[in-house]
């Protein structure tokens, strides 16, 4: 990274005419320092994850790794800790949640954007208003509801609500559909296609970017969700990774430090899929974030 200054000077003649965009050594210095500071914890995590048990017990790990116990990554899938089960649970819960959100929010959002019906605008105002309501208000009654349904200690309370769409996602889809030309569905209508047919044949494929974005939002949210599993899941064998990682630290032997190296391996396993998903889908996210963020402007 220290060589960055050289290519800069080579490109001097292309330097922008506008001062606001001119990069000075100060710009580089600041960015490098910030990037270094922000990255340090991640390097540190890697270092702890690669430490031996003895190093962890003595608390003598360092930011820059000095030992490389790669077997820690296979150890967590062994009998020591049920991280493999945690991971599988995370995948199951997230997968169904994503399917639920994509299916329901797409359809609802499309209806709000294209179909006409009495009371629609009022209903949409309600959709918007519900975005403001903190989940804590419904936390206790929902808990009672799921308890009475006998759903406690199953994945159902975490998955099923996703099949009933979510205000923010509906909003995103509606905005997206509003910007699509309506000739296509009108033509399909002429061809005698019903509204569901239009949605399934014409709209659904066109909604791909926004549905992928919704999928990613749902995935990251469900994957990292801690409070939901904390409330609803009791059995260790049903915990997703986000709760499992905390469970490991909370059930470490009294008077002893948790197995931080394995906990950090768990944290890495928790983080890496999200990083991959983000990089695969980032172009969709930018589009949605911006349109969501400045929807009022357009």
């Amino acid at each position: 990274m220290a060589t960055l200054a050289t290519p800069l000077s080579k490109k001097r003649q292309e330097a922008p005419a506008v001062r606001a965009f001119r990069a000075t050594p100060f710009t580089y210095g600041t960015l490098l320092i910030v990037a270094a500071i922000l990255t340090t914890p991640l390097v540190f995590v890697g270092s702890i994850a690669l430490s031996s048990d003895a190093t962890v017990n003595a608390g003598s790990y360092t930011v820059i790794p000095r030992e490389f116990h790669w077997d820690n990554f296979s150890r967590v899938f062994g009998t020591e800790l049920p991280v493999g089960t945690f991971l599988l649970n995370s995948v199951l819960i997230s997968l169904f949640s994503v399917v639920g959100q994509v299916l329901s929010s797409g359809l609802v959002g499309y209806a709000f954007a294209r179909l006409r019906a009495p009371g629609k605008n009022t209903m949409f105002l309600v959709v918007i208003a519900t975005m403001m309501i903190p989940t804590q208000i419904t936390m206790i009654p929902q808990f009672i509801l799921f308890r009475d349904l006998g759903w406690v200690n199953t994945f159902l309370p975490l998955i099923v609500p996703n099949f009933f769409s979510n205000a923010f996602n509906v909003f995103l889809v509606r905005q997206f559909v509003s910007r699509l030309p309506s000739q296509l569905d009108e033509a399909a209508m002429m061809d005698g296609l019903g509204f569901f047919g239009i949605y399934r044949r014409i709209m659904f494929p066109m909604l791909r970017p926004v549905l992928i974005a919704i999928g990613i939002f749902t995935l990251t949210h469900t994957w990292g969700d801690f409070m939901g599993p904390l409330i609803y899941l009791n059995d260790e064998s049903k915990m997703p990774l986000a709760l499992g990682v905390q469970y490991i630290t909370a059930t470490s032997q009294a008077g002893q430090a948790p197995p931080w190296n394995l906990v950090m391996v768990g944290s890495i396993l928790l983080a890496v899929p999200m990083i991959i998903v983000y990089y695969l889908g980032q172009k969709y996210l930018y589009e949605m974030d911006i349109s969501g963020g400045s929807a009022g402007v357009k």
């Binding site: 399917v99 006998g150 406690v152 994945f155 609803y232 032997q253 008077g255």
Partner: protein, 429 residues
């Protein structure tokens, strides 16, 4: 083009996902439905070693009664109240449930099964099996849990450091002054401290009760602002901030992350440490000579005890089987496992007096395990009020500044705590 591929796989994925979803959902639905004839569910808290010990005991049980099946559920300490609530309130409370100081949160709300009749039918005499602890988990004259683990706070001391200074081992007859003198002798400023174990409630409450105080008085009112309690807390606080014979939080922080007395004692940073049995788990490989002694005395003898019992939740559909299991789990045969694994002190007196307890196989040095039986004679009875969890949180919150050295007056700190407790216990009952 990857785009086409993505589209293909997405369609397949959606179809597959939906199909799998239906299957899983129905599967989950059925499995949660019928829970009446399943295995007994037993909830315990703690860590992995606890799980192993409980499981070993359950294995013995199943060997003896092959028709019983027990599913053990280990829950982290933090979330135990929440998990148990979820289960009880959901109508599928644990059949066997570990309870401790907060037992009456449940018994006062009628969530536990009174065990008197079941015990009588099984000819289980708790007084005989557990001594005075036998009736520990009673509420309004009904027994709600059978004692399972029970061990007093003991004083761990580093024999080498004591010998070096020519100080005699601590005894039950030490007074507060004797203790303070010894701690001062044993302290090397900034490097070694004479004592650790003042801040947690079982530790400083011992002093309060030794001094004739109580946390909750006989009429059920909080009494933490009494002169006796104030004096005891002041003495404990002075150990840290006036005499500096106990490490402060800052001192602990300098020793490393997550270090407290339980770790500092094996590291020879402190010479004496008062706490529960589990401290021994960090001492099996100690490179120095150590032993335990009973807690010293004040006006009178008094010491806290840690323990837990086994209860049956009212929603259990297999009460008789659950009691049969509890009866066996607290019998000498099963209780031996508790000491054999080095988990804790078994509540069963017979086991406490057995060679298996006095000379555990894993113990490499000579440790005076008789101290536990000796201490049990002067264990004080902590107020197991229904608002126990709130009370402990209120006290630990109210004394936070005191233990940071920001509020040096125990009188002021406890006056504030008393006010909070009065609000809590009035409104809670």
């Amino acid at each position: 083009m990857p785009v086409d591929k993505l589209q293909m796989s997405r369609r397949g994925f959606l179809g597959l996902g939906a199909a799998a979803g239906v299957i899983t959902l129905t599967a989950c639905g059925t499995s949660s439905g019928g829970s009446s004839a399943g295995p007994l569910v037993m909830t315990v808290w703690g860590g992995d070693p606890d799980r192993k010990t409980y499981q070993a005991r359950i294995d013995l049980l199943v060997k003896k009664y092959p028709d019983l099946k027990v599913k053990l559920q280990l829950i982290p300490n933090d979330s135990y109240p929440q998990k148990v609530q979820t289960m009880i309130a959901g109508g599928s409370g644990p059949d066997i449930m570990q309870v401790a100081e907060s037992v009456n949160t449940y018994s006062s709300k009628n969530q536990l099964l009174p065990l008197d009749d079941l015990a009588k039918a099984a000819k289980l005499d708790t007084e005989q099996r557990f001594g005075p602890v036998g009736s520990l988990y009673s509420y309004e004259d009904k027994l709600y849990a059978i004692p399972d683990r029970s061990g007093a706070v003991t004083v761990f001391y580093n024999k080498d450091l004591f010998d070096k200074k020519g100080i005699k081992a601590p005894t039950a007859d030490w007074t507060w002054d004797d203790a303070l003198d010894a701690f001062k002798e044993l302290t090397v400023p900034g490097k070694q401290w004479g004592y650790s174990g003042a801040e947690w409630w079982p530790q400083w409450w011992s002093l309060a009760y030794q001094n004739g105080g109580t946390i909750i008085d006989e009429s059920g009112r909080p009494a933490v602002d009494s002169d006796e309690v104030v004096e005891a807390l002041q003495w404990a606080g002075d150990l840290v901030f006036k005499h500096k014979v106990v490490p402060s939080k800052a001192d602990y922080a300098d020793m490393g992350p997550d270090i407290g007395g339980d770790q500092a004692f094996p590291n020879q940073k402190i010479a004496t440490h008062a706490n529960g049995f589990w401290v021994m788990s960090g001492l099996t490989d100690a490179k120095f000579a150590w032993d335990i002694a009973p807690m010293w005395r004040g006006e009178k003898q008094a010491v806290s005890a840690f323990g837990s019992g086994l209860a049956i939740s009212r929603t259990s559909k297999q009460r008789d089987n659950a009691f049969k299991a509890i009866d066996f789990l607290t019998s000498p045969e099963a209780q031996q496992q508790i000491i054999a694994s080095g988990q804790d002190v078994p509540a069963n007196l017979e086991v406490q007096k057995s060679q298996a307890f006095l000379k555990p196989s894993w113990m490499k040095t000579d440790v005076d395990m008789g101290v536990f039986a000796e201490s049990s004679a002067f264990v004080f009875r902590a107020p197991f009020i229904p608002e126990w969890n709130e009370m402990i949180d209120t006290i630990s919150n109210g004394l936070a500044d005191f233990w940071l050295g920001k509020e040096r007056s125990a009188k002021k700190a406890l006056t504030a705590v008393q006010k909070d407790l009065e609000a809590l216990i009035k409104s809670g009952s």
